[in-house]
């Protein structure tokens, strides 16, 4: 029997979510998450000239708004951890140069949102930093251009194809009490079930989500009944079906408390795609919709499993399979604090 490697860290002193801000493009505003947005841009260019600059504008807006919402100054932040989908995480790099913070660029594809939250949580918990800011972004045009074809290029897409969410989310984590806290984090491992289709990322990512979920339950010794909501990042229509089936094979019946970010962001039956994807997808749904519902005490304990397909257009063309990853963060509503 191999020695079990720890993947989950349960926090003794919770780390708090001080504030979260989300901004998005036009199509996301029309969706169910639209009413929770802090700001939305009227078109995909966000007042800039290129997709890449537009994504930067989104992230910067999210960072500034989260600072304002927390009532913090720039110098209150000790660490900036950010990620996006573009090569060399350029959006984060260029956003980071506008701020004086120590910066770590992260990449876990669409799971970057929870990766950065998990990392900052652990840093805050260990006392290394007092307050950290995490930001993620994705942009439909920029991602489409890098991973697939030009936006205006006409091509038939399979029904499993997902649409990258245009948006950015920023969240400030600190040790000063607030309404929502992080209870535990599970860092996933790269899982590869031999899926090769880059236009069917949902199903490729489902096993990773399932493995992380199972490890989280095993490590913490909890059952699925302990959670009010289990949220996956962006498995979309097909992937979320597979995820539920995998859970059911293990005797985990979670259908009544399960939500998928990809299914939520554009409504349940979006036209022309199987749902949303992208680093901002899980961020928008978690920081906007889920946090709002948690603040109004609708949900008390939420497990957010962000999933990412770690593929590269080159390796896909070289006929390699797609490794996937999922990071889980447990958010809990703190009852005794008098507002945050």
């Amino acid at each position: 029997m191999m020695k079990k490697i720890r993947q989950t860290w349960v926090l003794e002193n919770p780390v708090y979510v001080e504030a979260a801000a989300i901004v998005a493009g036009p199509q996301e505003r029309e969706g169910p998450v639209g009413s929770y947005l802090d700001h939305s841009f009227k078109n995909l260019y966000c007042g800039e000239t290129t997709w890449e600059k537009a994504e930067r504008a989104l992230m910067k807006e999210a960072v500034d708004r989260s600072l304002k919402k927390a009532g913090r100054q720039t110098e209150d932040i000790d660490m900036f951890a950010a990620g996006d989908l573009l090569n060399q995480t350029v959006t984060s790099n260029y956003t980071a140069r506008d701020y004086p913070w120590p910066y770590m660029g992260l990449y876990s594809a669409c799971a970057t949102s929870m990766q950065s939250v998990a990392l900052l949580t652990l840093l805050v918990h260990s006392g290394i930093i007092k307050r950290g800011l995490s930001a993620v972004s994705s942009h439909y045009g920029a991602a489409e251009r890098q991973f697939r074809n030009p936006v205006e290029h006409v091509r038939q897409k399979p029904s499993t194809a997902m649409k990258t969410v245009t948006g950015a989310g920023a969240v400030i984590l600190s040790d000063s009490p607030a309404e929502i806290a992080v209870g535990s984090v599970t860092i996933g491992k790269a899982v590869d079930w031999d899926m090769k289709d880059p236009l069917d990322m949902g199903q490729a990512m489902a096993p990773a989500a399932y493995e992380t979920f199972r490890r989280h339950l095993e490590d913490t010794g909890r059952s699925e009944k302990d959670y009010d909501l289990i949220l996956t990042g962006d498995l979309s229509m097909f992937g979320s079906r597979q995820f539920l089936e995998l859970c059911e094979e293990d005797g985990l019946f979670i259908t009544d408390k399960y939500l998928d970010g990809g299914n939520t962001i554009f409504g349940y039956h979006p036209s022309g795609c199987a749902g949303g994807s992208g680093a901002a997808c899980s961020a928008l749904v978690t920081y906007g919709y889920v946090f709002h519902k948690m603040r109004s005490a609708h949900w008390k304990k939420v497990l957010c499993i962000a999933t990412g397909a770690l593929f590269n257009p080159l390796t896909v063309r070289q006929k390699e399979t797609i490794p996937c990853i999922a990071h889980a963060v447990e958010f809990i509503r703190v009852e005794e604090t008098a507002g945050g």
Binding site: T49, T50, E52, R145, N149, P150, V151, E152, H153, V154, Q156, P158, S159, T160, W193, D194, Q203, A206, P207, F238, R241, Q242, E245, L246, E249, G272
Partner: protein, 154 residues
């Protein structure tokens, strides 16, 4: 003896195959047939007009008609309308030269921020380059075979 892991993976694969939604091929084919046919009719009418207006022979009038269609597709792509049209009208609007024009224009549009030389010119044929290479190669091959057969017969 299969491990539990393998059985799980096999079941996963089985479900994946079951879940695949096949595109409505017959409906798509009929749509493409109708829209492609309508475009062809429009092209023929234009062809007839060009012969009268510009005093061309039938042989000469082909290229201006093709050029008109390419120009149309480029402008529509640039205006962001082409993708919406093709969503409704299907392959009928892509299969003629218009699809090629669309791929060149869309690639060039995306790269315009990187400058004229390395951006637009360098990326223009990112998608269409494949078509060009195989088009030229197969044209060469076919005409070679034709010449070979002709010389053999004579």
């Amino acid at each position: 003896m299969k491990s539990e892991e393998q059985i799980r993976k096999e079941r996963f694969e089985e479900r994946r195959k079951r879940m695949i939604i096949k595109p409505p091929r017959i409906k798509n084919a009929v749509t493409a047939f109708v829209t492609g046919g309508l475009l062809a009719v429009a092209a023929q009418l234009l062809f007839n007009r060009y012969i009268v207006w510009f005093n061309l022979t039938e042989r000469e009038a082909v290229n201006p008609v093709v050029a008109t269609f390419i120009l149309g597709a480029c402008i529509l792509t640039g205006a962001g309308v082409f993708s919406r049209i093709s969503e409704k009208w299907g392959a009928g609007v892509i299969v003629p030269i218009t699809g090629f024009a669309n791929s060149v224009t869309s690639s060039a549009m995306e790269a315009r921020a990187e400058g004229v030389v390395y951006g637009i010119a360098g990326n223009m044929f990112r998608i269409a380059g494949v078509v060009l290479v195989f088009g030229v190669a197969s044209a060469y091959l076919v005409s070679f075979i034709r010449v070979l057969i002709e010389t053999l017969i004579n």
